[in-house]
Structure formats: structure tokens, C-alpha cells
């Protein structure tokens, strides 16, 4: 018995060897089994991409690449171009970022640097809850609260900021600005919670070094913490941008759904996801369906690029933090 244990080269007794072989086969089978489930995700991602390409080719054949920068959307005459939707998606997301980035970053600094630990974790949970509110409920709030509020504020905006091309036109209430506002509520939690984690992971020694040199707490934030975590915070912002680009329900309910490009943020607009939500079930001509799915394909590619960048930026900082 002792001999068998001490020298692995010695042959095992036959029944034991059989058992080990059986177990190794069991392990291999199990590994293949779970690999099948994991691999299904790769198949799924590929299938989504392939499906989008397969069911959009008519539009690409008919219009070619100019589909992306054509601003006509006319289901009656079967002529389609994606520009108004791309414009609406990009501008509404930009408004959302302009509001949510300062708010989110500020909250993250407060939660990470100012609030006592227990309070900070409780408040962070509450901010995470904000992310859990379904988008259709925010849309409902948007229709009945935000739209009337924006409509009431618009005459004032036109009067005071009307010299800018962004604040002209008729106060409808629905439009780009309202959509941007509601999107900012949806992405704020992402920016806050990820930035908080990033700020918390800044090595203590660096913060203490700055404080010991006589920097105030805010100067430490500005000169040490923010530069150190800059790229991960950009990652958080890109992740939030990815969310904003694809957000559908709340935006559809407040943006006014008009496929026109207007500089004014007060005018109704349209986004890529909103046109899919509104027209896909009712599209009758093949070309209309294929044009809509082309828009879905463009949206899909945009989110992949933005999310990929986000992950790259966050990943880099994790490496940097690990090295310190």
C-alpha cells in the first residue's frame, strides 16, 4: 500500500485503475457538458449578428452605404435613410451625458471620499435602485411630469437662450431635450457606482502622500485621485453611453417621434431604437422591414464599439491598480 502511494509510476491494482478511468471519462464528459452551455453564448452572439445582416441586405443593396447619411424616411414611397435616427440617438445621448457626468462624478466623490462607510454603502444601494427602475416606468413619469414641466420651462428658455440655435421653435414639451433629461436619470447610476468603485480603488498611499504634502482634501481629489482614475472613469462614461444609445421605451414615450433633423433641442426628434419600437410590428413592405433592421444593425455595431472601448478603459486601470 505504502509503495503505491510513494511511486506514482507503479501500476495500480486493476479495479482501482478501472475506477480512475471511469472517473476521468466522467470529468471529461462533464467538462464538455458545461462547455456546451458556455459555448451557447458565443453561438447566440454570432446568431444575432448574422440574423441582422441576413434580414437587412435588401436595404443595403438598394441604398448602399449612403443609407447611413440619407435623411429621408418615407414609408409611403419606400425610400429610407437612417440619418435622422442616428442624429437623434447621438444628440439625446450627448445631452444625457452632459447632465449625468457631472452629477454622477460628484456623487461618486461624495460617496467615496466624504460619506462614512456605512452611509456610503447604504446610499450606493439606493442609487443602484435608481438603475433598477424599469424604463417604461420612467417613460410614464416622463409623459405625465417631465413633458409638462419642460413645456412650462420652454418659453423661458426661448426668451433667455433663444439667441442660440439650440433653443428656438415652438414649446411642445416632447422633444430632444426631454429625451436627454430622462436618459440622464437612467445612466446616472452607472456613472456613480462605477466611478465610486474606481475612486475607492485608488491606492491609499497616494492619497496620504498628497495630504502629507499639505494638499487640501479637494486638491488631493483633483491632483491625485482623478488623474489616477481618469481612464476608468472614462470607461464608466462609455458604459453609460452604451446604455443611453440603446435605451428604448422611455425615449420613445417622450421624444415626439418625428424623423427630422433640427438644431433646436426643443423640437421633436426620433431615435434609432424608438423607430424600431414604433414601426417594426407594422412594417409591411420588405424594404421597410430591411431598412429598420439595417438601423438595428447600425445600433448594434455602435453599442459594441462603445462597450468595447469602455471595457478596455476599465480593464487598463484594474491592471494599474494591481501593480501599485
Amino acid at each position: 500500500m505504502k509503495k503505491i502511494i510513494s511511486s506514482p509510476a507503479a501500476p495500480l491494482p486493476v479495479p482501482l485503475r478501472m475506477r480512475r478511468l471511469r472517473e476521468r471519462a466522467g470529468d471529461r464528459l462533464f467538462r464538455l457538458f458545461v462547455m456546451g452551455f458556455g459555448g451557447s453564448v458565443i453561438v447566440l452572439a454570432g446568431a444575432i449578428f448574422w440574423q441582422l445582416i441576413k434580414t437587412s441586405h435588401l436595404a443595403w443593396q438598394k441604398f448602399g452605404l449612403p443609407f447611413i447619411w440619407t435623411s429621408v424616411w418615407d414609408p409611403v414611397n419606400d425610400v429610407y435613410g437612417a440619418l435622422p435616427f442616428i442624429y437623434g440617438t447621438v444628440v439625446s445621448s450627448a445631452i444625457a451625458l452632459a447632465i449625468a457626468v457631472p452629477l454622477g462624478l460628484g456623487s461618486a466623490l461624495f460617496l467615496a471620499e466624504m460619506a462614512p462607510k456605512r452611509l456610503s454603502s447604504a446610499l450606493t444601494f439606493l442609487i443602484e435602485l435608481l438603475a433598477a427602475i424599469p424604463s417604461v416606468i420612467l417613460g410614464l413619469m416622463g409623459i405625465f411630469i417631465l413633458v409638462p414641466a419642460v413645456k412650462a420651462a420652454e418659453p423661458f428658455l426661448i426668451k433667455t437662450l433663444g439667441f442660440l440655435p439650440f433653443f428656438r421653435g415652438t414649446p411642445y414639451g416632447v422633444g430632444m431635450l426631454t429625451a436627454g433629461l430622462i436618459l440622464s436619470i437612467m445612466i446616472l447610476p452607472y456613472i456613480t457606482t462605477i466611478s465610486r468603485d474606481v475612486i475607492l480603488s485608488v491606492p491609499r498611499s497616494l492619497k496620504e502622500g498628497a495630504l502629507a504634502l499639505g494638499a487640501t482634501h479637494w486638491e488631493t481629489v483633483r491632483l491625485v485621485i482623478l488623474p489616477f482614475s481618469r481612464s476608468a472613469i472614462f470607461g464608466a462614461i462609455f458604459l453609460a453611453l452604451g446604455r443611453a444609445l440603446g435605451e428604448t421605451m422611455a425615449v420613445t414615450m417622450v421624444i415626439g417621434n418625428t424623423p427630422k433633423i433640427s438644431l433646436s433641442l426643443l423640437d421633436p426628434a426620433y431615435t434609432m431604437s424608438a423607430v424600431l419600437a414604433n414601426e417594426f410590428a407594422e412594417a409591411t413592405s420588405d424594404l421597410h422591414v430591411h431598412s429598420l433592421i439595417s438601423i438595428a444593425l447600425i445600433l448594434f455595431c455602435m453599442t459594441i464599439v462603445v462597450n468595447g472601448l469602455a471595457r478596455l478603459l476599465i480593464y487598463q486601470v484594474n491592471l494599474k491598480g494591481a501593480k501599485q
Partner: protein, 282 residues
């Protein structure tokens, strides 16, 4: 004290005061939303509302019982697909996934996680609705399960990795084959974390609307089975919110209250589960 120093101190105080204000704004948004929905929802909530069918268009009253049951069906179906696939996929990632295939699976999960839910709705439409020529609960469940799988995979993998290697080694040293170690030792140890991830992903998909627009589609009547258009809570909120009827608006608030309670309970439950000290820790 020099004037410069006092100025720097003032900036310090001011900036942190500002961050506090920002946090307050973010939190008050949450409380405003919750409070407003509770206030408007409760006044329209009644026993009839949760047990009756919708009345014909134009008549007031009626309930959303079919939407509640429909949501349960769709989300249940999605969980039946999404949770096993996600957990087993995560077992591969945590136990064998240090290789190229593991990297690819993680990447694909991230890609799907980032895909807008409306695009997943279109995919499920092409996958299930077109071949069956019928909107159905099944297609809605498939759409939501696709959203669910990457969520479950990532949380489960994290919790499986938290299981200490020493426990695995102890079981292996007792002569158990690896697959038994994983099924009997690793998974039970991580059970609480896996459950938390499952609850969070369920409460996430319960509120998804966009992927149901052209899969579950909505229905104003009862539907038994899985192969017909079916009502769902988020779809009902959407339809009622954009309708021109005051009574429907009121019902939308009540339905929103029910939906948000489901989501909140799920999130709080998940948090409580994670807070309790696990029995393995001592």
C-alpha cells in the same frame, strides 16, 4: 494663516458641499419617482384591479389580472431557460475557463449584455415568431432569456470564484472526481450567491418592455398555454400610458406600482441575502 491657504480651504469646503448637493439631487430623484408612483398608484389599486380582466375599450374599470399572469409566465419561462444555461456556463468559466474558449465566452456574454434590448426583441421575432407565424408567450420568454443569460453567467462566475480553492482541494484529496466536487461541494457553497444573482436578473427582466413589443405583443383577454399573444405588465403600462383615456392613465400608475414593488422586493431580497454572514465563513 495666509490668505492663500484660507482660499484653498474655502474651495475645499465648497467643492465637497457641491458633491453633497449632487448626491442629494440623485437620491431625491429616486424618492420622488417612488413617492409619486406610490401616491398615484395606490388610489387606483383595488382587489378588482388585480383579479379582473380589462374592460372593453371605452368602459371604465376592469383590471390587469391577465397581464400579471402573463408576466409571470413569460418571466418564468425566461428563468427556466436563462438560469440553468447561465449557471452551467458560469461553471465552465469558473472551473475550466482560463483558456481561449473561456475568453471568447466572456467576450460574447459582454457583447450580448451590451446589445440594446429592442435588438434582442427583433432577433427573437426572427427566431420564434416568424417560423411559428404567431406572436406568443414562448417568443417573449426566449427574448427575455437571452437578456438574462449573460447577467446570470457573470454573477455566478464571480461567486463560484469566491469558493476557496482549499475546499475544492480537500474534496479532491478525499478521492472525489472533479465533476462531483463541482456539483456537490462548489455549487452548494456558492448557492446563496447564485440565488442572489438569479433574483437580481429576474427583477431586471421583469421590467423589460422593448423586447416584448413584437414577441409577446399583448392581449386583452386570458390566454392559456404559451403559443398565443399574451399580455405582460410592462406592455400594459406602455399601452395605457400612451392611450388618450384618463381611466387607462390611472390604471397605468397602479400597474407601475405593482411592477416597481416586484423590482424593489427583488433588489432588497438580494441585498439581504448577501448581508447575512454565510455559514461557511467560520
Amino acid at each position: 494663516m495666509s490668505a492663500g491657504f484660507r482660499r484653498r480651504q474655502r474651495i475645499n469646503t465648497f467643492m465637497f458641499f457641491l458633491t453633497g448637493v449632487f448626491t442629494f439631487i440623485a437620491l431625491s430623484t429616486l424618492f420622488f419617482i417612488l413617492g409619486y408612483i406610490a401616491y398615484h398608484g395606490i388610489s387606483s389599486l383595488s382587489w378588482d384591479f388585480v383579479t379582473k380582466l380589462p374592460k372593453p375599450v371605452g368602459e371604465t374599470g376592469g383590471g390587469i389580472a391577465n397581464a400579471i399572469v402573463g408576466s409571470l409566465k413569460i418571466v418564468g419561462l425566461a428563468s427556466l431557460i436563462g438560469i440553468p444555461v447561465g449557471v452551467l456556463g458560469a461553471v465552465y468559466l469558473a472551473e475550466f475557463g482560463g483558456n481561449r474558449i473561456g475568453f471568447l465566452i466572456r467576450y460574447a456574454a459582454d457583447v450580448i449584455n451590451g446589445v440594446p434590448s429592442i435588438v434582442i426583441g427583433i432577433f427573437a421575432y426572427a427566431l420564434v415568431v416568424l417560423p411559428m407565424k404567431q406572436f406568443s408567450a414562448l417568443s417573449g420568454g426566449v427574448a427575455l432569456s437571452i437578456i438574462m443569460i449573460p447577467l446570470v453567467i457573470r454573477t455566478t462566475e464571480e461567486f463560484l470564484r469566491l469558493v476557496p480553492g482549499s475546499i475544492r482541494e480537500a474534496a479532491l484529496a478525499l478521492g472525489l472526481p472533479q465533476w462531483k466536487v463541482i456539483l456537490r461541494v462548489v455549487l452548494p457553497t456558492a448557492a446563496r450567491g447564485i440565488l442572489t444573482g438569479a433574483i437580481l436578473s429576474v427583477s431586471r427582466i421583469a421590467g423589460e418592455t422593448a423586447p416584448l413589443l413584437f414577441t409577446a405583443f399583448g392581449n386583452r383577454y386570458w390566454d392559456d398555454g404559451l403559443l398565443h399573444p399574451i399580455a405582460a405588465l410592462p406592455l400594459t403600462i406602455f399601452t395605457y400610458a400612451i392611450s388618450p383615456y384618463d381611466d387607462w392613465h390611472k390604471q397605468a400608475w397602479a400597474a407601475a406600482l405593482i411592477l416597481i414593488l416586484i423590482v424593489l422586493i427583488g433588489n432588497i431580497l438580494a441585498r439581504l441575502l448577501m448581508k447575512q454572514p454565510s455559514p461557511q465563513s467560520h
